[in-house]
Assembly symmetry: C2
């Protein structure tokens, strides 16, 4: 069953065959198929699914496909699927839809579900509060293992994760955590306070989601407990959310490094003009900076008029500067993002990058010199080019290595040091150095 | 307690204070501290830790720090910590050490542990076989829930994950999975075959680790079962390994996009010359390509000698071409990596990117034209520049958008379409188009 067959069966209205083909697939493959389908065939195929399977598939769909379906459904059907979503997924979906649609959807919910969703929406984007689920297993510290297991049996069907339970005191402050495994292994009469892991690592509702992911990863726990400012447990962020967060944050970093502005979600679903708007700002800024490079070259009209061949090496030199600088920026930006390097090591890393740039410049300079010699090109121009390569490589690694630290220092995301940004900055340094050396060696 | 205090206390040999300070930290913070410390202070601090804590910390250390410690330890101490590692972590560590050290470490293991480790090492790097753990809970399909729980109680202490158990037939073929939760909730006399989830999604030992991560993420399961070619269950890849894999793969993609070659692990621990070697290949290749750009410019010596100001716009034009191309390549590469876009959508995505490039070129062209007018620059050169911007933007989005698909078609990782690569290719297109338009409008 692929997308073409789906289309064909919808067009020929052969719903019986379609249904038989659909139920051969598992929920993940179905979700993938529906995500690729156009709105009408998607809706048609979804309607043919048995209710249980439909619910599983709905959960796995892209948010814009979920929204299409909810909009096309009758109220009662929309209510059924919208209520079946986890509160955190629901909040995420609502955030992306027009206000009018959001109001219709919110009205479908029961008062308590609506309240839970609105609470999550009240937290800032990309914080623990926004991605946490308020559904978790809370146990009282005076319970025994037997009582705890009884409570879990009663609650578990509706809880997103039952692998970890949270032990709280009378004021709902978190005292410790217990893995389901340990509960199963323990003597039923043991007090929870005896077997729990006390004082677990928590995050606040306003903690950045990237930090939450790091805690889960470092402590190798299945869920990170989220507390409010008075230290009361209000939710947990589970491992599957963290997998999504890590992927989202990596995408964000990659986009920034490629100078693509803004969130990427639904990038391929958005209109061309909105994409243009997101990209054009950076491009025009870079063009403005590039005119500086242009003016510097224009200022050397006399020299260039005399030795026109000098112009031919400009792209090679500024290109290499940009490339070397991008390499340094890449390793530093990624190191800062994964925590492999910390700002306190800035000086040693920048010095190191500078030495790397010097050695790179030497190697490239000698290669270019030898190559120019073989081609029998003008040797004095080749020396100017080689000397510039040496200088530009060193400056490029120093610039590319230090800019992410400088951005971090001013609380700007280091990932905004994009490859185009480095390239453009290196253009300026490149032509200044080139003409300085050329004037020095060729004119004097 | 920070790294400076640690150093100071080691130097002044104030071990009592050091120990007191150390045990105030939790295992994650201790591991972070030791990872930052030099080899001697790290070893000293580690020796002061109580055995239980030391074992937890050892597990969390970077692999090169683990290796330092193992090399410094006596055989019996090295044996203790090396045996405490998970087989998959052990295989990973062994892969990075010199053969001599690996032999010494392997000798420390019991025969069965050594066998398990060597088996894992036999699988290709970056496959499911390499990252899986052979420790999992296997249940017989004829067992009842009660018998299963008994077996889990007996086994669990040494199993990496006990949240999912695997139900097998006589030939160790996987029949289904059962969550610990479902075992706890079920009637003790139920047969496992009645409550298991049948025919779970599996991967082969040779499946790429990126694909394994995608299965775990798509199916939202805590561990992916790994089978051999005869469908016998041989191991599982757990969620915490997948979190590492996702981070590693994102780093690899980001490095490639920045034209940094090779694996990044321990990048900041490797020698300057090995870093230079990894970077210089790409750079020199790009310089070779760039000489094409140079020759094209050199071929226009006559035109440039006449209208020298044309040279001043070269960086702006080729820079913008590179930037626009990088943006398109960024979204397509990332889309392919996360599975948001598939090769079958290639044509529609490339067309889309082309339209975006055309609109971007129009906007940028008009802006530059207006700006040149305001500055009172030579108007006919401004028209040449604007027209080139329009053309180069369109070509750049088409190139940046299609190259990743072309690479994928030839089974090359699309992430190798790096920003420097795109930039360099666009340099060539840029100057060709520029001089073509200039000759057309200014000379004829």
């Amino acid at each position: 069953m692929d997308i073409d067959l789906l289309k064909e069966l919808v067009e020929t209205k052969d719903f019986k065959t379609l249904r038989n083909e659909l139920i051969k697939l598992d929920s993940v493959d179905l979700a993938r198929l529906l995500d690729e389908a156009d709105q009408d065939s998607g809706l048609m195929a979804f309607r043919l699914l048995p209710k249980d399977l439909a619910m599983q598939v709905f959960d796995l769909l892209d948010s814009y496909q979920q929204l299409h379906l909810l909009e096309a459904f009758t109220d009662s059907r929309a209510k059924f699927f919208f209520e079946s979503m986890q509160p955190d997924d629901r909040a995420e979906l609502l955030e992306e839809v027009p206000a009018k649609v959001a109001r219709r959807l919110l009205k479908l919910l029961s008062t308590s579900e609506r309240q839970a969703t609105l609470t999550l929406l009240g937290y800032e984007d990309n914080t623990a509060g926004r991605v946490m689920t308020p559904d978790f297993i809370d146990l009282d510290y005076r319970m025994t293992v037997y009582q705890a297991l009884e409570r879990i049996r009663k609650l578990s069907v509706e809880k997103e994760t039952v692998y970890v339970a949270y032990v709280m005191d009378n004021e709902r402050k978190l005292l410790g955590t217990i893995n389901l495994k340990d509960l199963v292994l323990a003597d039923p009469d043991t007090k929870l306070s005896e077997i729990m892991t006390p004082s677990p690592r928590t995050v606040f509702t306003y903690t950045d989601q990237e930090e939450v992911a790091r805690v889960l990863k470092d402590y190798q726990i299945l869920a990170v407990p989220v507390v409010d400012t008075e230290n009361r447990l209000v939710g947990i962020v589970t491992w599957d959310d963290v997998v999504d967060i890590l992927e989202e944050e990596a995408t964000e970093d990659i986009y920034r490094f490629g100078a693509v502005h803004g969130s990427e979600r639904g990038y391929f679903a958005s209109r061309i003009f909105s994409v243009v708007r997101r990209r054009v700002v950076w491009l025009f800024l870079l063009i403005l900076v590039n005119t500086v490079t242009g003016s510097i070259i224009a200022g050397q009209e006399e020299l260039l008029g005399e030795i026109v061949i000098l112009a031919a090496f400009i792209p090679l030199l500024i290109g290499t500067g940009g490339n070397v600088g991008s390499q340094s920026a890449t390793v530093v930006i990624r190191g800062l993002a994964t925590g492999e390097i910390t700002p306190r090591r800035a000086v040693s890393i920048i010095t190191r990058e500078g030495s790397i740039g010097f050695v790179l410049g030497l190697v490239l300079g000698v290669l270019v010199l030898g190559w120019a010699y073989l081609l029998g090109r003008s040797f004095d121009v080749a020396i100017v080019v080689s000397a510039t390569l040496l200088g530009i490589s060193t400056i490029a690694t120093l610039t590319g290595g230090s800019l992410p630290f400088i951005f971090r220092l001013f609380k700007v995301d280091p990932a905004l040091v994009s490859a185009p940004f480095i390239t453009t900055v290196m253009d300026i340094f490149g032509v200044i150095l080139y003409f300085f050396i050329a004037n020095l060696l060729l004119i004097l």
